[in-house]
């Protein structure tokens, strides 16, 4: 949607136009649901996040400022809702927000199996995709949110920063940590997988 269309939609939303509300939902619910599902890891929680996001968006549409797009604004609300729920669900001793100063040791690559050379059909099997989803779900939420927005929903660095209220450098640093963790885990997975295939 170009910016003038969006300005018109915002004006209609702020005037309480029901059809405009429906248009907002129609255009964005699919994407918000995907984000919620990646963040929460199950459909029931994803649906709760989806509903809460739009309820909260409708309630605060008056305060929307065109500083960001409606899409980024909705991502921001949804990320907050999801992170808040995850915080609520976590046992107290586990911090959802990882300390900013990080332990370099955990990031040092340990797996050097070059799975790039595996046949493409090996890489896109259902089982691999399940493992990829699990790997994302097991990232700490602070890294998961950045990874999902940047590398799954393919937002830009600045859109991600905007949606998560983070600085550009925080987005980059969290993205780097998420990617290295996932690479490590997939490398380990593929190195085991290929051993069992080879010995068959």
């Amino acid at each position: 949607m170009d910016t003038s269309d969006e300005a018109v939609l915002v004006a209609r939303l702020q005037a309480g136009d029901q059809a405009a509300y429906a248009q907002l939902v129609e255009e964005h619910a699919g994407r918000i649901y995907r984000l919620a599902l990646r963040m929460m890891g199950n459909e029931a929680d994803a649906e709760d996040v989806l509903q809460e996001t739009f309820l909260s968006a409708f309630k605060s549409i008056d305060t929307f400022q065109a500083r960001s797009s409606l899409s980024t604004w909705l991502y921001r609300i949804a990320s907050n809702v999801a992170l808040m729920r995850l915080r609520r669900n976590e046992p107290v001793q586990v911090s959802v927000d990882e300390p900013l100063e990080r332990d370099d040791g955990e990031l040092i690559p340990r797996q050097f199996f070059d799975f790039c050379c595996l046949p493409e059909e090996e890489l896109v099997r259902d089982e691999v995709r399940q493992e990829m989803k699990r790997a994302v779900e097991e990232l700490p939420p602070s890294l998961r949110s950045v990874f999902v927005l940047r590398d799954i929903e393919e937002l830009s660095t600045s859109e991600t920063a905007d949606a998560l209220d983070l600085s550009i450098s925080a987005v980059k640093s969290r993205l780097m940590r998420a990617r290295l963790k996932l690479r490590e885990r997939l490398s380990l997975y593929f190195s085991h997988g290929s051993i069992s295939t080879e010995t068959r």
């Binding site: 994407r31 690559p109 990829m132 393919e154 980059k172």
Partner: protein, 103 residues
């Protein structure tokens, strides 16, 4: 394929020095000078080559992950909760249109 033994005698500290830049490197946003240094290092370090290749591949695989589609039942309940039920229609017809729209 696994390069478990470092055949070169260079220090693993070298590899660690580039760790922070790898993510920017695969995004093509690493500064020019660091980029050249890293590439010179990779020419001699199989481990770092593998890490960069597999990091790139990891991101590609996630890009290729099929997008889950919101079920109509979920959509219908959303419209109900939002008091927009008269506007609800099943998504089946425009499901493809919704799968891959960038923000």
């Amino acid at each position: 394929m696994g390069a478990t033994g470092h055949s070169h005698d260079h220090d693993q500290h070298d590899c660690r020095r580039y760790l922070d830049g790898l993510s920017d490197y695969v995004d093509g946003t690493l500064g020019e000078e660091l980029c050249r240094e890293l590439e010179a290092h990779m020419a001699e370090c199989e481990n770092c080559r593998v890490v960069v290749n597999t990091l790139t591949k990891t991101i590609t695989l996630y890009h290729q992950l099929p997008s889950p589609v919101m079920p109509d039942t979920v959509k219908e309940r959303l419209y109900t909760v939002l008091d927009l039920k008269p506007f609800y229609h099943p998504a089946a017809s425009d499901a493809q249109a919704d799968t891959d729209q960038p923000g």
